[in-house]
Amino acid sequence: MDRKQYCVKLSVQPSRGLMDEKFIVLIQNALPGSQLTIRALHQCEDGHSWEAFGHYTADTTGTINVSEDPSIGGTYSGVEQMGLLWSFRPIPGSKSGLRMRKKNIQTPMEVTISVYQGHQTEGFADLVPLSGVAVERWYMAPGVRRIPVTEGGLTAALFLPSGPGPFPGLLDLWGGGGQLVEYRAALLASHGFASMAIDYLTAKITMETGKMVDNQYFETAYRVLQQHPQVCGSKIAMIGLSFGTSITLKMAVYSEVIKLSAAVCISGSHVQPVDGSVEEILRFFQKNGEKTRFSEKNEVIWRDLLLPIPTDPSLKVNVGRLQCPLLLVVGEDDQNWPSQESALDIKEMMARAGNSHLLTVLSYPNAGHLIEPPYTPHARSSTLKTVEIEEKVMCLWGGQTVEHSRAQEDAWKKMVVFLRENLYGGRNPTSFSHL
């Protein structure tokens, strides 16, 4: 081996970062003009391995800076500072339909980043890298505390930022797959919001009684959050993705108990039987089940179930009565929900009602349904087991990887700014240059 290449120096700064922080990947001391591959490897909790890599050429000083230099091949190309994370895909030979989601958010995501001689595309396991470093990506900032919540029959987890507080609060809801999904709430707590992730489809009480939760469940969650000594009870927002949007809009408009300072709705719709319980809403979707389509790869497309957007007001949340700012995040290639059509209809309804000054729509071309925190890999489709169907299906979410990843990064930044302004006062503009 070339002795000079022994000392190729690879560094990633910071080596321990939050999931939404950027890092700088730098190679120094390489042979000027040499071709190198930078590869990231991650083994997730369920044992599957993921990889991403870029092809680079060292400059005349023997340096490669991933934030400034272009990748000319690999799982991403061009100047992509965070490409080694967002372009992760299962290693060759993995089973199909995988999706990367962290369950235990108290430990970091561990990524190994290595540099190889030449422009490699496969067989990495048999190659010896020139250099390698370990990088940690955390959902929880130091000092953030996780508190399980079972009060009032809830299945939830509260994440408190470090410090005396009081902090504005946030209720965090995911979609039809159920489970207690904590990572977004943990990350938002790292940004100063007391965030409660709620399981409302597979809650302990549902698993034990076989009955879906009712509207009071959400109001209980709100009350528990509001009454917490470290929460600023008059500043609570709600964030929902997919089916979580349905709940968020319903609560924002109709609940006598829940008074939101702001709402964020990602990849969802306002179409639902007004005044319906969770169970009734799910049955409404199932009734339209024959509108399910399939792609050539036999992936399930559910976006048509709620189309066309009804004109009947009893089938749509009356967003004209909304009294708090609303941020809608839409992927224009969403194959799972008609989020774009819904957003347009919401805009019209609010314009007619005179409260459209409350609405902001972020609409992203070629982004799919699963708009998640930034730098997490895009899944165009994955296997899903919803609470409605017993067997697993391959669900088409949509989106093209590059545009979807940009959408995730942009939407997250704007979401955090939106929440900061509406929950922390917004009297002084704040800067987020580190995001």
Partner: protein, 401 residues
Amino acid sequence: MTQAVPPILSITPSRALVDEKFQVLVENLPPGCPVTLHSLHHSEDKDDWEAYGHYVSDHRGVVSVTEDLSFGGTYTGKEPMGLLWSMRPVPGSREGLRLRKINVCTPMLVNISVHSGHEDFRDRTPLASALAERWYMAPGVKRIDINKQGVQGTLFIPPGPGPFPTLLDMWGGGVGLLEYRSALLASRGYVSFSLDYLRSEHLSADVEFKYFETAFNIIRNHPQVIPDRVGILGISLGSTVAFNLTAYSTIIKPRCIVCISSNHYHPPGTTLKAGFKILSKHFHKAHFDENNYMSWRSFGLDLIADPSNNVEVGRINCPMLLVNGCDDQNWPTVETAEEVARLLREGGKEHLLSRLAYPGAGHLIEPPFSPHFRATKFIILNSKKKGQFLSLSHILTHTST
């Protein structure tokens, strides 16, 4: 019910290596508001250390420790890292404390908070706070206890395939085995071996010399080490070992040596401990300052005036970096460095020598942003701190060539 929504304090990055900078930012304050930024650390020895600076928020209600000026506290002026390096024991603590991390596998936790007002800021609960983790070990660095052929110490290996350039790391007298510098060096890509060389009493100078040669060879032969890229890093008494080994060994050839607060006093045929005993016979000549702290500088000068007491550094044939604090009161390290330069010049080997000298800095030149100690229980007298920020990066540049 209305509660005031508090300001937001953020530390970026919140998890970092100890030699990395961070940015402390407070937002959402009222404009033109006097506040105090306060850092607090509860040490492994169960002492509390703190630093603080007085600031005023701008028209946007923002205080940036990186950009703004502190008007008082434990540091003043524009000091992005002042909340770390100016830390000192809280009022009422015991005397002569020193902040050194023994368990390098866990981070140092620093709580940074913002309080309203300047005077008596302590009387009020903080408006906001955040926690920073300061690590000596980067992810993936391996820590291995070594006990081989009588040699004891701790080895730190960087992540990656290797092999790596390597350092034999030696601390000074009066301390146990300190690992934090080695851990940090491994985090920067060097295999680093923190050698325990003062634990046991060696029978003779020869036996002691062999201990060091054996240690060097064990490291040199390690599969993760590039055998012809092993250097020696020593501070204080450790620098004496570095000089001694490099000048006289026929077996080992360090690629380079770095001596911090250099000391070449080593009467021939004595072990280090025996040498120290000779030194202690001169304590009655020690100078005591107005605080009754002890300085060995003046009698040290007398001792090294006799060249037969010293290592013949003119014999050294590898590149050398000497780092000194010009205000070193513990040992005449400045004079030592001058003497080394002179001897090398006489031998036509001046090109091997690089020197860094820091005005106002003392004897204990440590990794950056750690608090400095004017005096500590065992040893020394020190002054200001600036020296240590720059020397680590110089050392690393020096040893990577």
